[in-house]
Amino acid sequence: MARYDTEVLVVGAGAVGVAVARELCRFRTRVLVADRLNDVGGDASKSNSAIVHTGFDAEPRTLESETVVHANPLFDRLCRDLEIPFIRCGAILVATTEEEEEALPRIMQRAEQNQVFDVEYLTAQRARRLEPALTSARAGLLVPGESIVDPFLLVVAQAENAAQNGVEFLTSCEIERIERSAQTFVVSSTLGEIRARFVVNAAGLRGDVVSHMVGIEDFTVHPRRGQFHVIDRSAPLGIRHIILPVPTKLTKGTLLTPTVHGNWLIGPTAEEMEDRCAHETTADGMEEIVRGAGRLVPGFDPRHVITQYAGLRAVRTPGGYHLRSFARVPGFIELSGIRSTGITASPVVARRALAMLRAAGLETQPDEDFVATRTGIPAFRDLDDVERAALIERDQRYGRIVCRCETVTEAEIVQAVQRTPGARDMDGVKRRVRAGLGRCQGGFCGSRVPRILSELLGVPLERVTRNGLGSELLAGPTRAPGDSP
């Protein structure tokens, strides 16, 4: 078993964990990020609505609203520096009944309390001018700061940038035990022993499990499931804003949002679950969100659905965001209850974590070699013909289109695998460069990407997985070598 020594161990490579890593990589501090999954960005951070919130509708005067409101303006710079797809598309909150219309002033008031000052009232006519599909709107609110991002690339880009600046990533590394001896945490993991002076718990859905290991047992995490449908980009929807319903006491309801890649999402459901692996979709859930989308956009045609997914929000009891350090466990920082707003809040949560680590004694000497920018993988799909021809000239593999629906070339897939932390499986490739995310859902590239992975990773085809050990795509060769036919 290997042994790792580090100053800071970050447990969890989701949106919060990698944001902490990126915050710390500016300094000459040894940082190690460990995640139980086969890749970074694995659980809640990958399957959500992909919205960067303004916090206009958050519960005022909470840690959550405060961090979200402050984080939203940071995204322009962050996404520019790290080449993360990000669009300030704005949201329209739509009232379709008299009752909902009456709720609008209260929502505006709340936005003001949250210091989101640019929310505007919309008449039915203006709402329809902005989005002709909103034929059932009686009135609405325009929230210009609501934005969309690629949530997975947000994680990958920060992780790549952190790695470039010296942070080490361990995947398929499940934390089993944490002991404290003198000034050091001795952490047992499935990959071996990790010694660290500081531990940051950014384990999301398993945050309670990790805190329990150091004797903090005052909370539990309960997953709240959200199911989504993905809509084909050829659907004649034409919607450019995030479309939000008026929330009721019971639920925030179904929203419809464009994605940075030109698709749309509808969802989510909000189901309290016991099981932390309850990623399944249900017939009822899928029906519910289609009905919800139909209320917002009366002409919505469910035949344009190309796939579904379900994500789990890491909801905590007692509730709310908790960013804590503990006198009885010095050097242990807990970032818990970072639920669906966590994608947005992550940059500010990371800054708070840094402040807490400093308070706990972490020395932070700026690293003169720090590189603040990261270059994305050039996407063949987004280029013009002259640029495309030039790329193929430079690298022939840009001339081999592997995923036909999303126009992804072999060269892009190779880069996805060769970067650090790189793709190790089909999901890793899909999330980095979109191969398999289109309308045929891997029907075409699903047999071609495994070959590329097998070659680059140096493993036989039957060892290529969807998302780590146990998720092998194939059972094995039809005949063992040497078998008679």
């Binding site: 001339g399 629906c405 029907g443 070959r451 060769p477």
Partner: protein, 426 residues
Amino acid sequence: MNRVACDVAVVGGGPGGLAAAIGARETGARRVVVIERDGHLGGILQQCIHNGFGLSILEKDLTGPEYAHHYVSEALERGVRCFTNAMAIGLSPDRRITAVSPEAGLITIEARAVVLAMGCRERTRGAVWLPGTRPAGIMTAGAAQRFINIDGYLPGRRIVVLGSGDIGMIMARRLHLEGCIVEAVVEYRGTVGGLTRNLVQCIRDFDIPLYLRHTVTAIRGTRRVTGVDISPVDEGGAPDASRSQTLACDTLLLSVGLIPENELSKQAGVQLDEGTGGPIVNESFHTSVPGVFAAGNVLHVYDLVDDVTRCALAAGTSAARFAADYEATGPSTDAAARIVPGAGVRSVVPQRLSAHLPDTVEFHLRASTEGRRRTLELTGRQRGTVYRRRCPVVRASEMVRATVRGIGASGDDELTFRIGENCGEP
């Protein structure tokens, strides 16, 4: 950037594209180009190693690769220029194709006529809203066929097939022959989705359990499939999950329908038919965009490759005539008459008739009804019944053919196909 000028450019080197290219050469087109994304010509036939191809057109019982080889050789002998490893990614209404290939880079092909022959793709889990987890071990039957027959790998060892299209049934037999346990073929409707001969030769002959009026109501397993729940479907089509049973398996194959692949057609502005999912064409296979023709499964999903070849030869002929600018019929938007699916008919090809009709026109229909002793008829308001024939058996899964003589262009601008109990027949 490479530039190629030609008379007829064919997008796709499967059976439809090859036949179109051959048809174009035989009709005198000099410069004929095929653009194929795979490294080899032949399209999906390369992985269809079972037999039964060519029975009607070649009067031979061939495997898919043998059938493909026959037409690949013919096309090459006739001097068709083929770009393999080349993916067409753009098509403009003025018939300029953009393709990319590792060797030739970006290629621009300017064609006097274009034949669309991109084939079809399989419907996926997402399109049929299958509930459950998202583990490894779920794939379309065609993807599994490629893994086994091209790559030499088994997708799993214990298989459930959802849907009883031809590929689904053929794959059930294929996996059985490879030593896998095929737990079930599950079909939502009351009859299988594919040809009767495949029901007999692939399912019954191998005692593979077939669950009609059942569907998958849950997928189980987090990393790899561990099982699926199947439930009976009531008269109204709703699954009854309270009567579900769990079948242990490590693989779920989907054979739940084929969709003509028309992304390029849409780029060029080709009008599509909601019923077929393919372009609206006239009797010359001319789409709504002048000089753009359609051949094979891109037009509508055929039952038999022999029919694909036959129709695509005709489409290639039309394209060559258009390129030579003689006897050219206008695009389907200039039609003299529309053909409409009426009662009992889901779709019909061609959907338009030009003013210069040949003596006979062959129509291909999909029925929306099933049963014995039906009558097929084509009627117009003015002229009444133009064509009528008895159909001993009508199945939604088997294409209905109508060879109509002497329709004539004058008279009605709309004619309707109907399949009925007796349609007024005594």
